[in-house]
Amino acid sequence: MSLEKRPVTRFELLMDAGYGAQKAGDILLGAFVGMGQYVYVEPMIPAEISPPARSRAALSGVIIRLADFDVTNIGNDTDLILAAHEVVLDRRLDDREFNANAKILLDMGDQEDNPESYEMVLKRCTKLSLSVIPFNVDAESRTLIKELGGKGQNLYYLGMLSFIYNMDEEIVKKEILKTFGKKLKEDIMAKNITLYHNGYQLAKEKVFFRVEVQCHERPGQQILIDGNTSMSLGLIDAGFKLFSGYPITPASSIMHTLAKNFPSYGGLVHQAEDEIAAIGAAVGSYYAGKPAVTATSGPGLSLKQEFIGFASAAEIPLVVIDVQRAGPSTGMPTKTEQSDLLAALCGSHGDYAKIILSVSNVIDCFYAPHLARYLAEKLRVPVFILSDFQTANSYKVVAKFKLAQMNGGVDDIPDFVFERFHMKRLAGPVQMVRTLQTVPGTEGGMRRITGLNTDEQGKINYFSDHHQRSHAVRNEKIHQVRRVLTLPEMFGKDTNEVLIVGWGSSRGAIEEAISLCEKNGVPASGMHLRVVYPLPLMLKDVFTKYKKVMTVEVAFGDPLKPSPLALLLRSETLTDVRPLVADATGRPLRPRIIMNKIQEALK
């Protein structure tokens, strides 16, 4: 028996969809956290509910990065894979996210019926010099799994992983009870616990290594939360009173969380008939004085565009959350991408005012609603919060957030929210196209709003001077934000050979890549933008301190077509910004690949 001590490791459990891989992941996560380890979890979810078992489309799993220090991203490569059968393993090997010396635990249960397929995949593993540890579920457990209709297999694997990761069996059992306790009948629960135990025993007898990650005492109260849940709670804390949405992956879970909790905090959840109706009700609510928000993903963002322009023209505050997924069109609903930046920036017709915020982790998810509400109401423009599949679904343990409880006006917003987003409070009053901005019900304040151009009095006006004025006033609102933006978050030296720039969910990978670069003597620094539009005025000057400025994005770009952020930075700074990583594979960024590409770029 070998015991490997590691500061950080990554493993994954691969099964067919519908058999509880993610549930097993949740239990492991709870147990690791209980033991004082740092984890970052990425679920792998197919876009369908239950694709045919033993098909490549059925791959459903969980990737867990385990560390004795705080981890900000899912990391580079996997050290251990536990696969329920050869098909999901084969599918996952395509992603090439494993270490050269990765270990593979492969359940041979399906081999008898699929000898050729197993042989092929085992050969593939040999070719890749991966060490495969085949195993068979014991006879008693096979019977139990059959009795449970195939459902307990995840607990068996969970048992194996518990042994391998040197976990206290009792802590894990407690987590199992916490997760299933109320839902399962006693006898079924007992069978599941037996399966867990049998898995643990099997690993003890057949697997000859264990991995240990050091535990830490963490000071203060900690919470375990994913991005979409954090965003939902942030909306409540920021004082929103209406959530209006239409089901769409991966934004729906925001609506689910609010549907359960919002009424207890005085908030309404409206499930609209379509994406356009969802944003329309948010516009109506904000016009009538109740802070409202809509959340969607790419296809929904396209449908909402006309209303976004309307909100800008009619000067109605509006907050739009876009949890990005891989596009174009339906794309890959359960894969991550950052390619809606330009749709937010230019998606509605005409020159409309807008602010684009982005989130890089669960903490940003909580506070972005506060800042979005502040900016939307102060400027009376649409404010986007761009999240993505990865940020929305990844779980993390963080120190409990300080609450803002913005139930009064938006001036209650605490300073630390501005600091987090690298900006200051708006300076001075904001001029509007229309002088009067009353809310219905205000005595004597009657006014009409329209998407047509108007003068200061709000009267429809098609005259040239007035239309030019409206544009200038709307754009000045955005410039006011531009002027209070401070230096974005920087990693590494403030002058260097290479500066890599990213936004939103790329932060963790950039931070870790730069730290890797520093350890390896690669002369690179990093920049991360939380406010993506407008951009701060000093950006061009900052860029001159680096020989090369390159973007890191989960969006497509090639030598002839800059990726979205590169395009924006080029146009705003006249700097020759090029994409360094512009991969739209649906997989998160990997720090080591970023470093490798920097090294290539320096050649």
């Binding site: 900690q222 919470i223 209406l242 005085g266 008939e273 356009i276 109740k290 009353t438 019900g441």
Partner: protein
């Protein structure tokens, strides 16, 4: 939210003059004049506070209506007045809410919202201005254009039979379905009254003249082609025209009969159907908040503690 304080004038009776803003930019003889005058007469009669009244519209000739009322108003985007109105109803339940929508706005681009506005049955008066043509975009076939009537998009004559707004909304389960016309002011105002008093989504179909693009859509000088529906629970037939045409008794709780009047070749003005008991989505959502156990907002994260 910015809520500018406006110096509060002493309460004086609301008059038509106070409800006027600018001269509407509609063609001479347009039926829209009659419709907004009918609504203004109703607002004056009820003395509805302009500060508490919101007119919401989409796009088209009818879309301009809110601009011509000195109340609150949203002239929104094409077909989307209903979502905006619902947002307002959810934010401020007490406001007097009127939705103005044309035949293209309501039945074509905004058709999905009409289905769900009716199904949600939130409290508003929905005025469907039906001139049977796209007019502001200059004479194209609309969902209610007469079969074979030539337009700029179907110059050979409109290809299909028109949609029937009355049977359509009856079929959708509308809780209030009435029909009137822009040139019968008393009936129009009485219809607004009944619609306003209805506890839910009140669908009012209004035959509207369009002298510029289709002077023959409705023969307003002749009354023989329509009948009035009459009932103690219904809408009083127009005093001036009732004598000139047929009046039929129709109980507005009789849905089957409502369908047959709605489907008839002859046009009927009056209350087709009313059901005051249909659940209201706006009330359901507000009750949900009212009845939900209140939770301490300072403990919002506590269930996520480890």
């Amino acid at each position: 939210m910015t809520t500018d304080t406006i110096s509060k004038p002493a309460p004086t009776p609301i008059t038509i003059k106070e409800l006027n803003t600018e001269n509407p930019r509609w063609c001479a003889g347009c039926g829209d004049f009659g419709i907004i005058m009918g609504l203004k007469r109703f607002i004056v009669e009820r003395q509805l506070s302009p500060s508490q009244t919101v007119n919401v519209s989409g796009i088209g000739c009818s879309g301009r209506a809110p601009n011509y009322f000195n109340t609150y108003g949203v002239h929104s985007i094409h077909g989307r007045a209903i979502p905006i109105a619902l947002g307002i109803a959810l934010a401020q339940p007490g406001l007097n809410l009127f939705v103005h929508s044309g035949d293209g706005d309501a039945l074509s681009i905004g058709g999905n919202h009409l289905i769900h506005g009716i199904n949600k049955n939130f409290k508003c008066v929905f005025l469907m201005y039906d001139n049977e043509v796209y007019a502001l975009t200059k004479n194209q076939t609309s969902p209610t254009t007469r079969h074979e009537h030539p337009t700029n998009t179907q110059p050979q004559g409109t290809f299909l039979n028109p949609l029937n707004p009355i049977t359509l909304v009856l079929g959708l389960g509308a809780s209030f379905v009435a029909s009137t016309a822009d040139w019968i002011p008393d009936h129009l105002t009485n219809t607004m009254k009944a619609a306003f008093d209805h506890p839910g989504f009140a669908f009012v179909h209004i035959s509207q003249r369009c002298p510029h693009f289709d002077p023959n859509n409705f023969d307003h000088k002749n009354s023989s082609w329509f009948s009035f529906l009459k009932h103690p629970n219904g809408i009083e037939p127009d005093r001036r025209l009732a004598a000139k045409t047929e009046t039929v008794e129709h109980d507005p709780s009789n849905l089957t009969q409502a369908f047959s009047y709605g489907a008839a070749d002859r046009r009927y003005f009056g209350l087709f159907f009313q059901n005051k008991d249909k659940p209201r989505y706006d009330n359901i959502l507000h009750n949900l908040v009212e009845k939900a156990p209140k939770k301490d907002p300072s403990k919002i994260l506590d269930s996520y503690l480890i």
